[in-house]
Amino acid sequence: MLEGIERINEVECEVPVGYVPGMRVSARFFLSEDLEESLEEGAVHQLANVATLPGIVRHALAMPDIHSGYGFPIGGVAAFREETGIISPGGVGYDINCGVRLLATPLRVEDLTQMRALVEELFRTVPTGVGAESRMRLSAQGLEEMLVEGVPWAVREGYGIEADAVHCEENGQMQDADAVPVSKRARKRGMPQAGTLGSGNHFLEVQVIDKVFDPKVAAVYGLEEGQVCCMIHCGSRGLGHQVCTDHLRVLESATRKYEIAIPDRQLACAPIHSPEGEAYFGAMAAAANYAWVNRQVITHEVRKVFSRLFGIEYEEMPLVYDVAHNVAKREEHDIDGRRETLYVHRKGATRAFGPGRLEVPADYRAVGQPVIIPGSMGSSSYVLHGTDTAMERTFGSTCHGAGRVMSRTKAKKSMPGKEVREALMERGIYVRATSDASIAEEAPAAYKESDKVVDTVTRARLSLPVVRLRPLGVIKG
C-alpha cells in the first residue's frame, strides 16, 4: 500500500486528513488487496484534493475502479451540503451523463444464427465514430425541448415507448435542467450529433446472460439465463463537452471571486446557490438530458433492427434500466439521523440506490436500483442491485466499470487491432469498428478484470450481483 494510506479492512482504505494540505475530511476508497498494485499515487492525490473542497460531507470517496483523471479521480464520489457546499465540473467531467443502458429482448442465444449480419446491420443503422452525423431532423426548437424534457420528449417524438422513461435514472429528465446557460456553440455541436454513438470506450454490444447470481432479483428485472440483451454505452457528445468547457471558464473566475482555495485548477467551482453555480448546474442537467435522449434514439434504432430481422414488437424489447456514470445530482440523504439535501458528484461512478427509495422505479423498488457495469469488448458486463449499505456508506454509489490499466497508446502499440479482432472472433465475439486502431486501444487486456472490481463492491456490499452478460457482437466508434 502507498505510504501514508491506511487499510481499514479487506476492501476499504483511508487517506487521512493532512495527506495533502487543506483537507477538511479524510478520504476513503474501496479496493481489495489483490487490486492494490493497480493503484496510482496520482489518483489518491486527486481524491485527497477533493477532500479540501468546502461543504464536503463525511469523506471524499472512490470506488474500486479508481484511476487518475483530472479534477476528481475517475471512480470518485463526493457529496456537498446545499448551504455551504460547491458545484464543480471537475466532479462530472467533459462527457456529462456518459452512461449505459440495457435493453432486454425475447431472443435466446440459439436464435442468433446470423450474428455477423446482425452486427453489420446495427453498424449501418447507428451512426458511429468520429465525424458520424445524426439522422434526426432536429430543429432549434426541438433541441431546446430535448434539453429541458429529456427522454419523455424523445418518446413523444416517436423515439421510444411509454415505459422507457420510468426505467431511466431521474425518469430520463433532470428537473433542474435549464437550456438558457447552454451556449449557442454547445447547441451547434449538439444539433448534428443527437443519436450518434461517438468513439473511444463507447460501444453497442449484443450480449447473452450467461450466469444468474440472484434469480429472485433477476426475475424482478425481467432477466434470465440464456437471454439475449443489448447494451448501449455513450454520452452527451460535443454538446456536453462544450458545456463543460464553457462553464469551466466561468467557474475559474468564480473560484477567485468567492475566494475558494483549490489545489487543482480543474477543481474550479462555485457555491451551489451562486449565479455561476446555478448556471453550470442547469446547463449540466440539460446536457444530461441530451445524453439520455442520445441513448434513447440509439435504442429506437436498435429496436428497429431487431424488429426487422426477427419480427419482434418494440414492446417485447423493454428498457431494463439506464444509469448515469458522470453527473452531479441534487439528492436527499440521511446524515447523522437527519435528512439533508446534498449535491452528489459521481465521476465514473454509478448511483446504486437501495430498496425502498422513491427514486427507484416502482416495479424495482422492493429490490433496489439496477446497477449496470459494462465490461470491455472481451470481458463480461454485470447487472447488480443497490443496497442499504451503499445508502449508508457511499451516498448510494458504486463502481462504474473495469477501469483502465494500460494507456490507449500503449494498447495500440502492443496489440494490433486486427489481431485483437481475430482473437475475439475465435472466442465467438464479432467486432465491427470504424477502424482497427479503435479496437486496439480498447483491447480487453487494457482493462482491470471487471470480475475483480465487481467482487470488491460485492464484498463491501455496496451493490450485489444479479446477472453476468457475455459479449457476442460489438460495434465501436
Binding site: Y70, R185, G200
Partner: protein, 135 residues
C-alpha cells in the same frame, strides 16, 4: 518531433516544447490534431481567430478548446499554425484540410483540454508544457 506522449492510463497527456512561446502554442495544437486524426495535410483550408484569457495557462486551454470547436463544427483537420501572442491575447492562422473519414479515422476523439497539471515552464531558452486531454 517536438512533442512526446507522457504515459497516462485513462487519458492522453503530451509534453511539448519550443524555443519561444508562439511556437510552443503552435506545437501544442499540432500535437492535439495528431492525437485526434493520426495524419493531416495542409490543403489550403484556413481559419483565423483571436483568443483572450486571464493568464497564459488559460490562454492555452481556451486556444486549444477553440480549435476543437472549429474542427468539429466546420469538419476541418488542421495541420499547421501561425501563432502570435501578445500578453494574454493570441492570434492564430490555422490551415489544414476537410475531414475525410477514409484518411483521418484511427486517432482518438478529444473531449476536452484539462487544466490538471497544466503549466507553461521556461527553462533557459526553452519553453515547455504538459497538457492532459480527456479522450
Amino acid at each position: 518531433m517536438p512533442f512526446i506522449e507522457v504515459p497516462h492510463q485513462a487519458d492522453v497527456k503530451v509534453r511539448v516544447w519550443a524555443d519561444d512561446c508562439n511556437a510552443l502554442f503552435a506545437e501544442a495544437a499540432r500535437a492535439m490534431f495528431l492525437v485526434m486524426y493520426v495524419a493531416a495535410e495542409d490543403r489550403g483550408v484556413e481559419r483565423s481567430f483571436t483568443v483572450s484569457s486571464d493568464d497564459l495557462t488559460s490562454l492555452m486551454v481556451d486556444f486549444l478548446s477553440e480549435l476543437l470547436f472549429i474542427s468539429e463544427v466546420d469538419r476541418v483537420v488542421f495541420s499547421s499554425f501561425e501563432v502570435t501572442i501578445d500578453g494574454t491575447e493570441l492570434r492564430v492562422r490555422a490551415s489544414g484540410e476537410p475531414f475525410d473519414p477514409a484518411r483521418h479515422l484511427g486517432g482518438m476523439e478529444i473531449k476536452g483540454v484539462s487544466y490538471s497539471g497544466l503549466g507553461i515552464v521556461r527553462d533557459g531558452e526553452q519553453f515547455s508544457s504538459e497538457i492532459l486531454f480527456d479522450v
